[in-house]
Symmetry: C2
Subunit: 482 residues, 2 copies
């Protein structure tokens, strides 16, 4: 049962000014539909009683009844006698039974069968339960004390440092600070390295929440296009001309394009950062997610660094599990100390048991990598095959790692496509969300963290949605997806 | 074994300009001692080889050898042939064997027997292991999905809401947002409610990390004294005159004074906030830690609120365990939505397993409260008795809840006392840390989260330190404790 509910007053406020066109009930229904589609009104939220909404809007109750009836017919609300009405999405086809394949099943099915391609995050790997058990066994060593370690537990810092050593980058535990996820790591770095108003180079497209953290900090965003990969001269030129303070790069299986930066480009960009006196923040969230583990690895960005210019972010969220909320930063020991101080007013320290679980999982990281590689490769190929069959005009490269296809549509219709897809029961993120200036409307990101049969169903629905968009291109302004 | 180490260059930078008084080796030793005492050089940090530090400082190696010898004699460094030297604190008396009393033992003994009265945070309660086991059993329901829930897991939000209901404050789960600890909760509230430069009322003394969060936000701090409790007219007058945007209050077993605000004052302050158009942020971190559970509870601050002016912060850290990093905010549903959006660029979501553990512990909160009450009462009385015997000139009230005595010294010597205490093997936090303007130098906070025998040893050492301070009051400027 849903526990969310929204009062008549709240719903009236969410809608703002409903245009008083006739019939008013239809305008009202359209507003509610918009709130459901753009997520401001979450699914399975209980709607106010008709008389309450009527009172809040100062309209007659029959108007609200008519609006609810329209929404019910369209499938945007569901009702049951005595239990009221709640928000829903139209059901076109039943979802195939979720695969039991561990770690690749879709989120809990309390969302009425919608397939979520919005979030590129898999479930926990097969050895997760064993790692949890091992961590729980370690917990009593910690739970008798206060449980605070602002730079992270020593055993996890050592394990993370050893991981860099194994990749050819000499690293001591004093160079590691454990954070409450990679997003927290990046937020800390923006606080310590970026003054409000300072120019920061970002890839276009890039990870939307990194843009969110930079906007929160008041940074000036300097985008450089990477749809075709990194043009070292172009990136270096932007660093220099804009005098950027920081360059935020995702060199390993870039999110969302999937590109892998080659060694020569890494070397060139680190050198360019040195000349421009900028920090390179290398987000390695996807670095362990190569699909073919026999291919030699490109050295990490930090391998080309001499003077502490490259700051590396690591994350448990994609390789291990997002529900752990553990990430880390590799940098110089003095910057580790500044970051440790900077996190105190924010969150003091990271959770102990999650750090212990991550340590156990990293101790067996090759098993996790092997499972992820096999699962992701199978899902990538299934998604690619389904797209080629059902939507042959859509273009995409085949990434050698990561979790997403970055798909170019035949026309700049990503936002109406996303809305049509939601009506068909698939959530996708349109291209503009990954950019800073409203471009990329001809792209969508399609993650392949779900099992092949779910992805095939998703592509069926996308094909229906795309046909709908092609048949009747929308012209009215659409809600911004976030 | 220690894993931290510091290079000659780093140590030279930490010291800044060493005054070139003679003998230079003594000045050098004093600087290193200062770094150890104020925590900038953590305990068990491996020091650079003598020749490396000599090179970094451009002095002769014999000078560094002499400085290290002096520090070794004083007990600030320890050395072993072939293993180098590392930072330490002088040992005066061996710590009594740590009590095995669950949940009240001191932190891991890798700190050379020092008693930490700096941190008022107990270990986990007795039922912790059972709660962890129950949470682990629930985990598979979540670990197959992405693990993100920006407002918190539904089952924990319901449990927290039910806790407010039980205290007489009607609350729905949509009024709760789960955060990554109470500090994170307060940081989010400063971001959403306080513009840089806005005046914010704070108690003096108050929780130092709250001051840190407000300073980070650029708030203008308006302190009001509460050493003798809250003067409702004074607080209300400050709210009005300074036109504060927010008042940060700790009404339940205030940190550090231990005061409990009565119902009439709560009602008056909520009314004053309404007139001043200010939010009251009520930090209830200690609210469940009454020492006598038969005494009727004062209604929560939110019980006196009608218009959503009182925002309540709750925390797992003191009642349950700090290593969990879970807190929450109770407020209006619209503000919950703003806070949920505001946390996205910061940390996206809180850890799933920790939320499940907190849910299990809150389901048995009366057991936890009973254990805490018994342990804290015993420790409070032991600390008070030892102080009355050994340091009869120190004054303090007997708090009816919380975890600390707020002790008034006979002279404003809290900072030199803290330094002398560190030499004796006790960490204490001097009064000025709890204030905004360097006053409170005649106070120290003495937490009683450790077992009676540890606290008696601590008081013995404090008495020695105090005698030392009284005999030779220091006049040189001292490092700021944080």
């Amino acid at each position: 049962m849903s526990v969310r509910h929204v009062s008549g007053q709240q719903l009236a406020r969410l809608m703002g000014e409903v245009r008083h066109e006739r019939p008013y009930y239809a305008a009202l229904a359209r507003e509610v539909r918009g709130l459901v589609l753009d997520g401001r009104l979450p699914l399975r939220t209980r709607l106010p009683a008709e008389r309450d909404l009527a009172a809040a809007l100062k309209v007659s109750r029959t108007t609200v009844t008519a609006a609810y009836d329209r929404l019910r017919t369209e499938g945007y609300i569901a009702s049951r006698q005595g239990a009221g009405s709640w928000t829903a999405l139209p059901q076109r086809s039943a979802l195939a039974p979720a695969s039991a394949r561990h770690g690749m099943v879709p989120p809990e099915q309390d969302d009425g069968g919608i397939i979520d391609l919005g979030c590129a995050t898999p479930g926990a790997p097969e050895i997760f339960d064993q790692a949890v058990a091992a961590a729980v066994a370690e917990l009593p060593r910690h739970s008798s004390g206060p449980g605070y370690a602002p730079a992270g537990l020593a055993e996890l810092r050592e394990m993370v440092a050893a991981g860099y050593e194994a990749r050819g980058v000499p690293t001591g535990p004093e160079q590691i600070v454990i954070t409450t996820g990679a997003q927290h790591a990046f937020a800390l770095l923006t606080e310590v390295l970026v003054e409000p108003g300072a120019p920061v180079l970002v890839e276009r497209p890039t990870y939307p929440h990194a843009l969110g953290a930079l906007r929160r900090r008041g940074a000036r965003l300097v985008p450089v296009g990477v749809n075709e990969g990194w043009d070292a001269e172009l990136v270096a030129g932007s660093m220099r001309q804009a005098a950027v303070r920081m360059a935020y790069l995702v060199p390993d299986f870039h999110n969302p394009t999937g590109h892998l930066m080659d060694a020569a480009t890494r070397e060139a960009l680190v050198a360019a950062a040195r000349r421009a006196d900028a920090f390179v923040v290398a987000d390695e969230t996807f670095a362990e997610l190569a699909h073919d583990l026999t291919v030699p690895r490109v050295p990490p960005m930090a391998a080309f660094d001499r003077g502490g210019r490259v700051v590396t972010i690591g994350s448990a969220s994609k390789l291990l599990w997002g529900g752990l909320r553990i990430g880390w930063i590799r940098t110089t020991a003095p910057l580790v100390r500044r970051l440790t101080t900077a996190r105190e007013p924010l969150d003091l320290s990271s959770a102990v048991i999650d750090q212990l679980i991550v340590r156990e999982l990293l101790a067996r990281v090759e098993e996790v990598r092997a499972q992820r590689a096999a699962d992701l490769l199978e899902s990538r190929d299934a998604l690619a095959r389904a797209l080629s069959e059902r939507l042959p005009g859509w273009e995409f490269g085949m990434p050698e790692g990561g979790m997403s296809l970055w798909v170019r549509l035949e026309a700049p219709v990503a936002t109406p496509l996303a809305e049509a897809a939601a009506r068909q029961g698939v959530r996708v993120v349109p291209g503009p969300v990954f950019g800073v200036d409203g471009v990329l409307e001809d792209y969508v990101r399609l993650p392949y963290v779900q099992p092949p049969e779910v992805l095939r169903t998703a592509v069926d629905r996308l094909a229906t949605a795309y046909a709908e968009v092609e048949a009747a291109p929308m012209s009215r302004p659409l809600p911004a997806y976030v």
